[in-house]
């Protein structure tokens, strides 16, 4: 068995909080630059130039890329030969609160969702743990802003649904989001499992690099086709019109029941922030 100390986990969380919030993911930055080269109108070009400039200011001046520093979502894969020196969720939440406060990031969590009576705090984040084989631990943080989270959708399709019905649900989700969730978007899609798992898959799909398509060729083709349909909506950067409504569609699948086809869409804004490290 390998012991991983609370201290090492805390230090890693701190690093990842800063990295995710202040340095735009390289795959996203690259896609934004490609998008800029494709746009012709002033409105779309100015929007993309501002987004790219914002990323460089954030990194240089140690500012959050976006003021919505999100609800911190943390994925932890723990090797079955690892012993953690303490309660993993507690260690992570304490580390997040410390890091957010130290880095002057926003406290956006309302502890009382119904009556909204509390002053916003940094935590709790949402911690997902998975046990995997091995003696390592992977920590991933995804600060998810709510402008785009509010546009998430789940639907239970029939198992006989056509590919077109699947595509339409995804494209409609983007149409509904319109200009509101900071386009150009990255579209996470979860297909299969159960209603709750589809939602989680859609979110996990956002963690995959947008530089390449799904490893399954047929799914990769589906992703490409849906992206074309989304871009035909012409919502464009900042919703001011243009060729780039979305930069990528990432689909993640899981086996499901013979009686159903759960599908979930989780939209990310252009400020898709995540960072990961293996201990």
């Amino acid at each position: 068995m390998r012991k991983i100390s609370a201290k090492l986990i805390s230090e890693t969380v701190d690093k990842l909080v800063i990295k995710a919030n202040m340095s735009l993911r390289p795959d996203v930055l690259k896609a934004l630059k490609t998008a800029l080269s494709q746009e012709k109108t002033n409105a779309a070009r100015n929007a993309l130039s501002a987004i790219i400039k914002n990323a460089s200011i954030a990194k240089k001046e140690k500012l959050a890329i976006c003021q919505d520093t999100g609800i911190p979502i943390i994925f932890v894969e723990i090797g079955n030969r690892v012993v953690v020196g303490g309660n993993i969720s507690d260690i992570i939440n304490v580390a997040i609160a410390k890091s957010y406060s130290k880095a002057y990031l926003r406290a956006s969590i309302q502890a009382d969702p119904v009556f909204r009576s509390k002053k916003p705090s940094y935590t709790p984040g949402i911690v997902h743990t998975d046990i995997v084989a091995g003696d390592k631990m992977r920590i991933t943080i995804l600060p998810k802003g709510f402008g785009s989270e509010n546009k998430a959708r789940v639907k239970m399709l029939n198992p006989t649904a056509s590919i077109k019905q699947i595509e339409d649900f995804i494209v409609d989700s983007v149409r509904i989001a319109g200009a509101n969730a900071c386009p150009p978007y990255i579209i996470g899609v979860g297909i299969g499992g159960t209603q709750d798992l589809a939602g989680l898959l859609a979110k996990k799909a956002l963690l995959r690099s947008i530089a390449k398509g799904n490893r399954d060729k047929k799914i990769a083709l589906l992703e490409k086709g849906i992206l074309e349909k989304i871009n035909a909506l012409k919502i464009g950067p900042f919703g001011l019109g243009g060729k780039n409504t979305a930069l990528a569609v990432n689909i993640q699948t899981y086996p499901t029941h013979i009686a159903g086809l759960p599908i979930a869409v989780n939209i990310s804004c252009h400020a898709l922030r995540s960072a990961s490290e293996i201990l």
Partner: protein, 174 residues
């Protein structure tokens, strides 16, 4: 690019047209979900608001705290549509302009036209860039709301795009 300064009286904004880019220098008040809720409850009870919103600009924004030596942290716009239901009453009470991101409801578009106001959008998701345009920040009220408190911001050359103009012209109409 067109520059605008100071108080945005009706005559200053009446010629603005949707799609036009503007650099604004002057004062803006932040207010988002919970501040709007409180404002509308106060107005419903006939109370005076803690800020005089007449001829003012409200920015839908919950900024990040300022690091040492800085005025403010990242401070971009939040989604305007969440404020839709609580907006016409503010326009009726003299609010002149709003800054946010995304579309507005039919009711808000109608109220903008009726009261000759304007809705701007700005660089959405670019809070780091926008923070450089804020020169001063003061907490005005609702401190208990944290980032959702009302702050008075003095901005210089703050980039705006006219999204809905006083004639009802709407950049998001396809």
């Amino acid at each position: 690019m067109k520059k605008l300064n100071g108080i945005l009286a009706k005559n200053k904004i009446k010629d603005l047209r949707c799609g036009q880019e503007v650099l604004y220098t002057g004062m803006i008040y932040t207010a988002r979900d919970q501040a709007h809720k409180r404002f509308s409850e106060m107005l419903r009870k006939g109370k005076k608001l803690p800020v005089d919103i007449k001829e003012q600009i409200i920015y839908y924004c919950g900024p990040n705290p300022a690091a040492k030596g800085k005025v403010i942290g990242s401070c971009g716009p939040t989604t305007s549509s969440r404020m839709d239901e609580l907006t016409p009453v503010l326009l009726k009470n003299g609010l002149r302009a709003m800054i946010g991101k995304g579309e507005r409801s039919k009711e808000v578009v109608a109220a903008i036209k009726q009261y000759k106001a304007v809705y701007f959008t700005t660089y959405a998701g670019c809070g780091a860039l926008l923070s450089g345009r804020v020169k001063k920040k003061k907490t005005v009220c609702f401190k208990d709301l944290g980032a959702e408190a009302v702050f008075a911001l003095e901005v210089e050359d703050f980039p705006l795009i006219v999204a809905i103009d006083a004639c009802g012209g709407n950049i998001y109409d396809k």
